[in-house]
């Protein structure tokens, strides 16, 4: 078929089932946009490329399929970098497509030229730069295959402008093979057998469910296994919501700002089943202290995660869902297992920590606001978060009911992620309410996406806990830097209600618990992009707190 590179590219996207693209045009990707004009693919025009990458990321996390973002060469491409890095750290599949200067200009420091492949190599699974139009269909197919299979990750395609314009006889392959890439799906059954033996003989077993459970969609399998063996389930922050948090066996997230009962109980366990987790420092504290005297079973699709941060006893390499199914299938029919003592202890610890932290003495607090949000919000709603105190408060005080409905930048910790990601999530699932749990500092970073949310009719709710400061930094300065407060005061700037209105969105000030409830209800009913501005006392801390460099047992419970 005689086609231009640009046409071949758009046709290849259509063949992958892509029906939405987040992006911004510029000189070097104009041929691509010209072909988008005559395609059915919906284009969402962003106001900054970083948001395009976050939207594609949010879309991908909800859809379980790669999200696509477009940017031009040079600054367009570098603006994507934070979003690509965010997706990489959280194993989210996006296909980022950048324009590049024409082949003959590459390496000449041309206008808007940058070596985006050099820049992105550390934060992508692979980067392609097709050097002829002929290569395009195969490149696109490979890009989606790599992004979505195995451990998902971003893939970059850098398209020189003249390759987009070149006319060539192109063919569209049905299948591609990459000889250096063989993701392992099915677990080794001997290791599965070993794992079962360990689990059945454990006295104090615990499950640590990580992000891999969410990615693999193994919610059902996780719940079955936990219930069959009556094992309490903690999650990492990335795994938050992998297990329904209202379930009697649920302990909630562990980690720096984990639930006290989860942090406490995980240090008491004798066998740990870690599922799709990379033992991050934020989750487990000190690597040398975590898991002392504990037998560890580790399920992960990425062989390089086994033993990276933590030596384990039984590695199971494979897809989480396939591995859990294998375990369930091989469990004996009659399970003679008495966890009574351990479950009694779990109950006792849960009870002990129930009211462990005194509520911050204000009429409106972050905790109360989030509890209210949970109360009013339908169970199937999707929640994204910004980064900082708002994020950790969400982790502590917002219980996820339906697995796979909670998304946050957990690895890179990117401020500004939550809002564009919520728009991407809304595009993926328009029928459910989507809320960005935000702080003022973080929301400020990508707030211009309000224009996108309003104009593209992708209404989301920004639940803005506004403490007029960079709250988490302020908390660290209060706790570790003798209250030498610097660089944290945002001075109630801007007025977020007026800002929302300036973008044609709905702005609501909510200064009492009643106003918060009304605000959420109004937003849900109106189905309009809404910013609910909730003033929070700048001194309210996130507690408990495991200070960096300490173990999970060293929780700080009060300020």
């Amino acid at each position: 078929m005689e086609l231009s590179g640009a046409k071949a590219f758009i046709k290849s996207l259509e063949a992958e089932g892509v029906n939405i693209v987040f992006g911004m045009p510029g000189g070097a990707n104009l041929p691509l946009y010209d072909e988008l004009y005559s395609s059915n693919i919906r284009h969402i025009l962003v106001r900054h490329e970083q948001s395009a990458a976050h939207m594609a990321d949010g879309y991908a996390r909800v859809k379980g399929k790669a999200g696509v973002c477009f940017a031009t060469s040079g600054p367009g491409a570098t603006n994507l970098v934070t979003g690509i890095g965010t997706a990489y750290m959280d194993s989210s599949p996006i296909v980022a497509v950048t324009g590049q200067v024409p082949r003959a200009m590459i390496g000449k420091d041309a206008f808007q030229e940058c070596d985006i492949i050099g820049i992105c190599t550390s934060i992508t699974k692979y980067c392609f730069q097709p050097y002829s139009a002929k290569e395009i269909p195969e490149t696109v197919k490979k890009a989606f295959y790599l992004a979505e299979s195995g451990r998902p990750a971003p893939v970059l395609i850098d398209l020189p402008k003249d390759v987009q314009q070149e006319i060539a006889d192109v063919e569209f392959p049905e299948l591609v093979k990459i000889r250096g890439y063989k993701p392992l799906i099915d677990p080794d059954l001997d290791q599965v057998k070993n794992a079962i033996e360990l689990l059945l003989n454990a006295e104090r077993p615990i499950i640590m469910a990580g992000g891999g459970v969410n990615i693999s969609g193994a919610f059902h399998e996780l719940q079955i296994l936990a219930e069959m063996l009556m094992i309490p389930v903690a999650t990492t922050f990335k795994g938050k919501g992998a297990f329904p948090e209202m379930h009697p066996l649920a302990l909630g997230p562990i980690g720096m700002h984990g639930h006290a009962e989860a942090n406490k109980l995980i240090t008491e366990a004798d066998v740990l089943l870690a599922i799709g987790s990379r033992f991050s420092d934020r989750s487990v504290g000190r690597f040398d202290e975590f898991g002392k005297g504990m037998k560890i079973i580790h399920i992960d699709i990425d062989p390089a995660e086994i033993g990276k941060n933590k030596q384990v006893d039984i590695p199971i390499i494979g897809d989480v869902k396939a591995s859990l199914r294998a375990i369930i299938k091989m469990l004996p029919n009659v399970i003679k297992k008495d966890n009574t003592l351990w479950l009694k202890r779990v109950k006792e610890v849960k009870e002990y920590y129930k009211d462990y932290i005194k509520d911050y003495p204000r009429d409106v607090t972050a905790k109360k606001a989030l509890k209210k949000l949970r109360e009013v919000l339908p169970a199937e709603s999707i929640v994204t978060t910004e980064v900082g105190q708002c994020q950790m408060w969400a982790s502590l005080h917002f219980d996820v009911i339906r697995p796979g409905t909670f998304f946050s930048s957990t690895g890179l910790g990117t401020m500004g992620f939550g809002f564009p990601a919520s728009i991407g999530a809304k595009a993926a699932k328009p029928d459910v309410p989507v809320v960005d749990v935000a702080g003022d500092g973080s929301f400020n970073m990508t707030e211009n996406s309000l224009a996108v949310s309003v104009l593209e009719e992708l209404p989301v709710i920004v639940f803005l806990m506004n403490n007029a400061s960079l709250g988490m930094v302020a908390q660290w300065q209060r706790m570790f830097y003798s209250r030498r407060m610097i660089g944290i005061d945002l001075k109630k700037m801007p007025d977020f209600v007026k800002l929302a209105e300036a973008y044609g969105a709905q702005g609501i000030n909510a200064e009492s618990m009643q106003e918060i409830e009304n605000g959420i209800r109004t937003a849900l009913k109106s189905n309009l992009t809404t910013v609910i501005n909730i003033p929070i006392d700048p001194e309210e801390n996130v507690l408990p707190f495991v200070a960096p460099g300490t173990g999970l047992n060293d929780m700080i419970l009060s300020a």
Binding site: I117, G118, T121, S122, K125, Y126, L146, I178, R179, G180, Y181, D302, P303, A304, I306, G307, K308, Q311
Partner: protein, 162 residues
């Protein structure tokens, strides 16, 4: 412990960059790296040596295994592997006596004199790292002007049973 990692990689631009970039980003410390063509025109062989603890070596092998352009990766069994390095050493000489001494030493190490002038001599020597280190240790007493080493390249002995 001293380890040799041998990888077959796609023979195309950017592959070495991806590998060395990963090595830098993950803070691995390698001793040598050599790259060259193989019997297949579309594959190159990369040989890396590293003297680190077991954990680091395992991690490097696993992280390399994740790179899409690496088609096959093996940690060679040192006891069942032939490994060689080549060094070129240029030495400044003062007189005949010195020249004779250097030529004798080179012969003992089964090296070759590949260039000679009135006041300099260039030696080619191949062998294991230890052998080359030992030779350089001796020749250091003279005036080494310049030196280039290739890093180790290696192959497992015998033929893999199919």
């Amino acid at each position: 412990m001293f380890s040799i990692i041998s990888a077959l990689v796609e023979n195309k631009p950017g592959v070495l960059f991806r590998l060395t970039n990963m090595i830098r980003a993950r803070n691995f410390n390698i001793d040598s790296l050599s790259v060259g063509p193989t019997e297949h025109s579309d594959l190159s062989r990369i040989t890396i040596t590293m003297d680190q603890d077991e954990h680091m070596i395992n991690q490097l092998v696993k992280q390399m295994g994740k790179l899409i352009d690496i088609v096959e990766i093996t940690r060679l069994d040192i006891n069942n592997t032939v490994y060689r390095e080549l060094a070129l050493i240029k030495v400044k000489i003062k007189g005949r006596e010195e020249r004779t001494e250097i030529i004798n030493l080179t012969n003992i190490f089964r090296g070759k004199i590949i260039d000679i002038s009135k006041n300099s001599i260039m030696i080619e020597i191949t062998g294991t790292k230890d052998k080359i280190d030992a030779f350089i240790g001796l020749i250091k007493e003279y005036n080494i002007v310049e030196m280039a080493r290739t890093g180790i390249t290696a192959l497992a002995r015998g033929v893999k049973s199919e």
